[in-house]
């Protein structure tokens, strides 16, 4: 076991997969000589050469479309979108082509789209968004969002080996801020499976991405008040792991859904609706969503702090629910 950061985990996953499988290659803006805006591919150009680490023109739709075409004829491209916000420019290729190829005519499109997401880095409206909402109503895509270095590595390997288009959301705030021990040998984390990040019995927090850490902070504070929190880290957003969701509801009977994405039409809405539909009788209180308000991500520190769900927001939602 070795302790590595979330960013290092991403880098290792790509490096090991590229070594293992010659069909894996990376394309995007500044992934080559610069090693990527966040340095996820540092040193890769020297190691793999300019035909497996492609600095592309500034053209998200074109290079995502090209990745799709390469995938259809047997490659496993990893597309780096410099900031996930720019994925809007590749929306058509992902939704129209990649998502529907297999259903429509049997084309297999094993691409991974790495999307550096999320706020708390003072990036403002265009360098802070969570983009899973754009793709959440699109059948045919898979979406994952790791919260730990262990999962970051294991899920990225699974995504690369998967035969469907996977949007891999990686949270920029976590890149250098969290570390984990990961095995030295090859391992994967399955797509489609949530994990119990913390076992508890009073209330479940269902969450993912950077908010898993916010949930932990809340759980820590609430422990002192003798409230026992269970944290479910979804890890895969699409398709959702319904069983894990339902199991925790049946256990604690009280649920908070927490995400950094804006509230309306967010992942939390679907989780809540599923719980309502399938676990109605197990609920001892309404399902509450703690999420960002319905605005772009503001830039100024006091605004951004108010935008991103904070530990105190989670704590007060839980205290309110305990009183229900």
């Amino acid at each position: 076991m070795k302790e590595i950061t979330y960013l290092e985990a991403i880098k290792q996953a790509m490096d090991e997969e590229m070594t293992r499988d010659p069909s894996v290659f990376i394309l995007g803006e500044d992934v080559g000589i610069y090693g990527g805006a966040f340095r996820a591919t540092e040193g890769f150009l020297e190691k793999y050469g300019e035909w497996r680490i492609l600095d592309t023109p500034l053209a998200e739709s074109g290079f995502t479309g090209a990745a799709i075409g390469a995938a259809l004829v047997g490659m496993r491209p990893i597309v780096e979108i410099q900031f996930s916000d720019f994925i809007t420019c590749a929306f058509d290729q992902l939704v129209t082509v990649a998502a529907k190829n297999h259903y429509r005519w049997g084309g297999t499109t094993p691409i991974v789209v790495r999307a550096p997401c999320g706020g708390n880095i003072h990036g403002g409206p265009f360098h802070s968004q969570c983009i899973e909402g754009y793709f959440f109503n699109v059948p045919g895509l898979k979406i994952v969002f790791p919260s730990t270095a262990y999962d970051a590595k294991g899920l990225l390997k699974s995504a690369i080996r998967d035969n469907d288009p996977v949007i891999y959301c990686e949270h920029k705030y976590l890149y250098r801020r969290i570390k984990d021990f990961v095995p030295e040998e090859d391992y994967t984390v399955p797509i489609g499976k949530a994990r119990i990040a913390l076992e508890g019995k009073d209330i479940s927090i269902i969450t993912y991405g950077a908010m898993v850490h916010t949930a932990f902070e809340a759980a820590q504070l609430l422990k002192e008040k003798e409230i026992s929190i269970e944290i479910i880290d979804l890890r895969t957003i699409l398709p959702l792991d319904k069983k894990s969701i339902f199991d925790t509801v049946k256990k604690t009977n009280k649920v908070i859904i927490l995400h950094e994405q804006t509230k309306t039409g967010g992942v939390g809405a679907e989780v809540s609706a599923l719980i309502n539909e399938y676990c109605f009788e197990y609920l001892d209180a309404p399902v509450i969503r703690v999420a960002a308000p319905d605005t772009p991500v503001p830039y100024s520190p006091p605004l951004e702090e108010a935008f991103i769900p904070q530990t105190k927001d989670v704590v007060s939602a839980i205290e309110k629910m305990m009183r229900y």
């Binding site: 290659f25 035909w51 497996r52 492609l54 592309t56 023109p57 053209a59 739709s61 074109g62 290079f63 995502t64 479309g65 090209a66 990745a67 799709i68 075409g69 390469a70 995938a71 259809l72 004829v73 047997g74 490659m75 491209p77 058509d92 290729q93 129209t96 082509v97 529907k100 190829n101 297999h102 259903y103 429509r104 005519w105 049997g106 084309g107 297999t108 499109t109 094993p110 059948p139 045919g140 898979k142 998967d162 035969n163 469907d164 797509i191 489609g192 398709p239 319904k242 069983k243």
Partner: protein, 325 residues
């Protein structure tokens, strides 16, 4: 250019097969037996037949919706295409997709997504794969004159040129995009001028001359295959039917159609074959009967085929489905 006699006859066969099959789609559409819509390449068949016939077996095509000739030349049978149009289980997409929105990688054909020019980028990606793997294959991608106005056209052409990828871009310039004439689509005289923006060589060909389309495409493939990079080929032609079979195309001047009728690609080819003593009238008639029979068989096959069952629609979303516990 090394077209043997058999090749020339095959080209004529494919032109006629495309024409007849699409004519049949049109009739069935008007009879209400094909639902939704029907698009034909009527009058412009030489383009898809020509560029497809010039491919080698392991090459890849990323066609657009007026490329019925591509599906046929690459080996997708009239039976499966007719069943596709009728929404049958034996259709190329087993009823998931309709009409021209089809592809089959067993025949090296990437599916056409409705969104024009998306396949320029996708085709470029196939070429990128060949380049990365060091394979001597090429990709060909096609779109209409209207499609060249889309962003994906630009992004794909540029990427292909920068990386000198083995891809050839075909434009079916049939002078209209639905009702929109060229002068509202672009302020240049030839679509080929678009290629100047990318430093990409371009060619203008008579899109109604299948031998010319074949020859120019073949040269471009050869160049691409040997590391010479992409070419853009503008095929000048005229859309002889409406945008789709429901459209009477009143916005097209009748004289324009009269003029182009004389340049019909099948007539052109017939004349060429006869005047140069390459084929006899009887042989050409033989092609007609063969084509007629094939299309009839295709129709019977499709009519007799079952529809998919409702549950079939729930399958196939993912290549690797995730099991629920």
């Amino acid at each position: 250019m090394d077209l043997k006699r058999e090749d020339l006859l095959q080209l004529q066969y494919y032109l006629k097969l495309t024409r007849r099959l699409e004519d049949r789609f049109s009739s069935l559409y008007h009879q209400g037996r094909i639902l939704g819509g029907a698009w034909t390449s009527n009058g412009t068949e030489a383009i898809s037949v020509g560029y497809s016939y010039a491919l080698e077996k392991n090459d890849i095509a990323a066609p657009y919706f007026r490329d019925m000739g591509c599906f046929l030349v690459r080996g997708i049978t009239p039976k499966r295409l007719m069943a596709q149009y009728l929404g049958k289980k034996t259709g190329v997409t087993a009823g998931k997709e309709g009409n021209v929105h089809v592809g089959d990688l067993n025949f090296g054909v990437i599916g056409f997504p409705s969104h024009l020019a998306d396949n320029y980028a996708v085709g470029t990606g196939a070429a990128l794969a060949f380049k990365i793997r060091g394979e001597k294959k090429v990709a060909v991608a096609c779109t209409g004159d209207g499609g060249t106005s889309r962003g994906d056209f630009h992004e794909a052409m540029n990427l292909a040129a920068v990386r000198k990828l083995p891809v050839v871009f075909i434009c079916n310039n049939n002078q209209y995009a639905y009702s929109t004439p060229l002068k509202l689509q672009m302020a240049i005289k030839n679509v080929a001028e678009r290629a100047l923006a990318y430093g990409m060589p371009s060619k203008i060909v008579d899109g109604n001359n299948v031998v010319e389309v074949f020859t120019v495409a073949k040269d471009a493939y050869d160049m691409a295959r040997n590391g010479g990079g992409p070419t853009f080929i503008e095929c000048k032609t005229m859309r002889m039917h409406g945008h789709s079979e429901h459209d009477s195309a009143k916005y097209v001047p009748r004289e324009l159609l009269e003029e182009w009728k004389k340049k019909d690609p099948i007539l052109n080819m017939e004349k060429y074959l006869l005047e140069n003593n390459i084929a006899k009238k009887e042989e050409l008639d033989g092609i007609d009967s063969r084509v007629k029979k094939e299309v009839e068989e295709a129709e019977s096959f499709a009519e007799e085929s079952p529809y998919p069952s409702p549950e079939d629609g729930l399958k196939g979303l993912y290549a690797t489905p995730i099991e629920e516990e």
